[in-house]
Assembly symmetry: C2
Homo-oligomer: 268 residues x 2
Amino acid sequence: MALRDLDGALGQAMIYAVQGGKGLRAFLAIESAALFGIERTAAAPAGAAIEALHAYSLVHDDLPCMDDDDLRRGKPTVHRQWDEATAVLTGDALQALAFNLVLKTVCPAEARVTLALGLSEAAGVRGMVGGQAMDIAAESAALPLDLDQITALQAGKTGALITWSAEAGAIMAQQDPAPLRRYGDCLGLAFQIADDVLDVEGDADAMGKAVGKDDARGKATFVGHLGLDGAKRRAEALVQEACDSLSLYGDAAGNLREAARFVISRRN
Amino acid sequence: MALRDLDGALGQAMIYAVQGGKGLRAFLAIESAALFGIERTAAAPAGAAIEALHAYSLVHDDLPCMDDDDLRRGKPTVHRQWDEATAVLTGDALQALAFNLVLKTVCPAEARVTLALGLSEAAGVRGMVGGQAMDIAAESAALPLDLDQITALQAGKTGALITWSAEAGAIMAQQDPAPLRRYGDCLGLAFQIADDVLDVEGDADAMGKAVGKDDARGKATFVGHLGLDGAKRRAEALVQEACDSLSLYGDAAGNLREAARFVISRRN
């Protein structure tokens, strides 16, 4: 047996974990780059990076000590398909890969540094990981979060990476990222509200993961605070705001506007 | 209760995890930078980055699904002091922090990109995480690794980060890193052989972690293959080779030579 074969499971699990997603974040990065005339092939490493980072977060979130999920994207989660040690290492390796990929984006070195710095902030203790820690702490303490608190939590847990994806193109082009940041912030929040709606209305087959879990856990959600109709209206208003923030890009931003509408119409 | 307080444990656990180490890797990065006239304050972010990355790897390696250790640097491991979810997230956040810090090293943007790319490779599936996966796979399969296999495994698991630290200064200065890479490769292997020796000869109090674990697990080690005296002789030869590779830097490399000698004389 060759030594290399010993880590075969890790490489397989990494590929397994990145497959089957919607690719929303990569789409945002590549489309925002296109607004500035940047080719898909030049922006693709940044798109791959954000998908690797997102996949790592799902693998770790699904662990028994975290959300303890058996199903993800319609397949057994990594720790169910392999084991917990492989799932921890798969996530760890995917995070390192994400930083490797983002640094290979085809743009000036200063822009690559800014992209990677932004990714590290969006991924870290003041972004995704911090949001996940708050989520777990609130759940284990059975704390009834108010709307501002849920919004802040989700801005970290899922919003930061979506915003990073949306503004990535402006950063590659070394242009002002503010309009795309506003688009990303609105889109990220709409995305999470839609997720809460789907947890109530969706079915597990279409979602590829368990549904109704939030309610079963007594978890504070946007639907719990706003009601189903109120949540849908809020998501629609956010999508409108997201689209409005793209006005200076004119028709070139058509795909990004469609992506925003997709986020609240999706069934999974 | 403020929402921010909910993730207080995460910030505390991150600080807890980075404290109490020898700081060897940061020392190497700062001393290699000094060879090229780079100030400590300029190189310090790279040193902090490698210590954050190293700390993350220890927190995850200690998890119950991995090496299942209760003691690290003389204190309870993070999952014992808090819980497993906090330990997973602490490691995740420390990895993101490591990339954030390395990108703040004071050197040209191209050099920062090269530093961070190198860190991502040393940390990833072809470096540290790959080595750890091989280690776990070999142990769970009770595979008797030969000397070449142990050497290859350790080159990934611990060697890659030590080599990165050693060559960091040359990369900051945009000079040829080859001599420092050879120094780092030799030092990393000597370090691991010394670790195997300490696992046999050391005592848990001085080490701040459990000893005799390798033997209890029937794990293949350098001492198992070379014997205690043979392992010590091999480590000494490697330290000599490490020191020789610094000859072109003359007396300026005195601290790096001392560090190499420390690695095989240390008691923890």
